[in-house]
């Protein structure tokens, strides 16, 4: 009968797809675990680093270039997305965040300030990490001044040092008055949030917010943190801050990268899981149809035979 061969072929092809998605699900689950581990082991370091900074910064001279707040005219946005696709709504949610940010640049200008400020004059440029991020920016009709697909592959302090150097130089030359980073915060396997954080000028409010989020983790790890400690700072304030600020930025970027990686893999895992489930459902459906057709074919044959016999009698 006509339909059966077709259906069989479809069952085969969908079963194969199911195998692939299942394999990808398992791989993502393993990668996610690794990424989450890394993100978790960075947290105590990042926390201690922000605390140290929060304690040292008040002693600094106000005119330190990386701490002074300037009127915001040009904003540099670092966008972290994935290198590969097939990760559910991960990149789409980021696109949504970026789009709403572009529609309402006030969000950027007023970041950590409470009151909304006029932002009609603000220009926004992008640095992208991950191929998808570059693509996203192109679709939104913006230019990215630099793109680092290799950082999305290899995440460590060595690989991000060119990025850090670049944003420092541009900030010092006053090409940009504010540097922010957009990434996906990993809450748990089912929940990820898109976040916008300020990198430069280093903002105490933003760090404080991150600290409260991390508080529970530090307690678990039993780290003693100094609250408003009056330090001796050796050899001098400038030297310590000069060494400290890059580390703070670096750990913020690393933190964002690790969180994003964990989010990416977990959304890929979920996407692959639902793809596997959907494939299973389709196969079940097709099998049912196939069996029905086979059944009706047999019934028809039997009735034909018995009709033939009845005619002979």
């Amino acid at each position: 009968m006509a339909g059966t061969l077709d259906i069989k072929r479809r069952i085969n092809s969908i079963s194969n797809t199911k195998k692939v998605t299942k394999a990808m699900e398992v791989v993502s689950a393993a990668k996610m675990k690794k990424a989450v581990d890394r993100a978790l082991s960075l947290r105590p370091y990042a926390k201690a680093m922000y605390e140290l900074f929060a304690n040292v910064a008040p002693h600094a001279h106000k005119e330190h270039p990386l701490l002074t707040v300037r009127d915001t005219e040009n904003v540099l946005v670092i966008l972290i997305a994935s290198n590969k696709g097939l990760c559910g709504s991960y990149n789409a949610s980021l696109t949504r965040t970026v789009r709403s940010m572009l529609e309402k640049p006030e969000i950027l200008v007023s970041l950590n300030k409470g009151e909304m400020m006029d932002a009609s004059h603000v220009t926004i440029d992008f640095i992208t990490i991950g191929k998808r991020a570059a693509h996203m920016i192109k679709i939104l009709g913006k230019d990215s001044i630099a793109t680092f697909p290799e950082i999305a592959k290899q995440k460590n302090s060595d690989s991000i040092s060119p990025l850090v150097k670049m944003i420092f130089e541009m900030y010092k030359e006053e090409k940009y008055d504010k540097v922010v980073i957009i990434y996906t915060d990993f809450v748990n396997a089912l929940k990820q949030n898109q976040k916008i954080r300020q990198l430069l000028p280093v903002s105490k409010e933003d760090l404080a917010e991150q600290l409260t989020e991390m508080d529970n983790i530090a307690k678990k790890n039993n780290i003693k943190l100094g609250e408003n400690v009056k330090y001796l700072i050796e050899p001098s304030n400038e030297i310590v801050l000069k060494a400290l600020i890059p580390k703070v930025i670096e750990s913020q970027i690393l933190h964002a990268l690790y969180e994003s990686a964990a989010s990416e893999e977990s959304s890929r895992m979920l996407a692959m899981k639902s793809a596997t489930d959907a494939a299973g459902e389709i196969v079940d459906d097709l099998k049912l149809t196939y069996n029905k057709i086979r059944q009706s074919k047999i019934t028809q044959e039997i009735s034909e035979i018995s009709a033939g016999r009845a005619a002979l009698e």
């Binding site: 082991s41 302090s157 040092s161 050899p235 310590v240």
Partner: protein
Amino acid sequence: MKRIDFIIITPTGIVHESKPVSITVDTADGQLTILPEHTPIVVPLNAGEIVIRTENNEEIFLAVYGGFLEVLKNSSVNILADGALHVEEIDEDKVKEAIERAEKLKEQELDKSSIEYAKVSARLERELAKLRVTRKRRR
């Protein structure tokens, strides 16, 4: 006897945690030994070794690079570093190979302002620190 709450934190996690009686570190101005009840202080560290003296007068050696020493009140001490290694974990042959590789690269990268040069120098400094620590312990 008073002891120090001591912890070394790196981006890859907590490397060391103990309650020693003294800690000796390398700073730009020379060696610095921290005893319990030291006044709060922040110092950037050189790539080099940390010597931790325990209650039983044993010495623990670590190689550390790119970090800060932070002394808080009540004898708690944190070291925040890019990386830290126990001396037992250092493979001297591998370190020597790494140093040779880094030195060769450094010769090739003559442009001293380039990012590559900075990277290689940092790596070289870090490997040299490891080597110093292993040598010292052998003696």
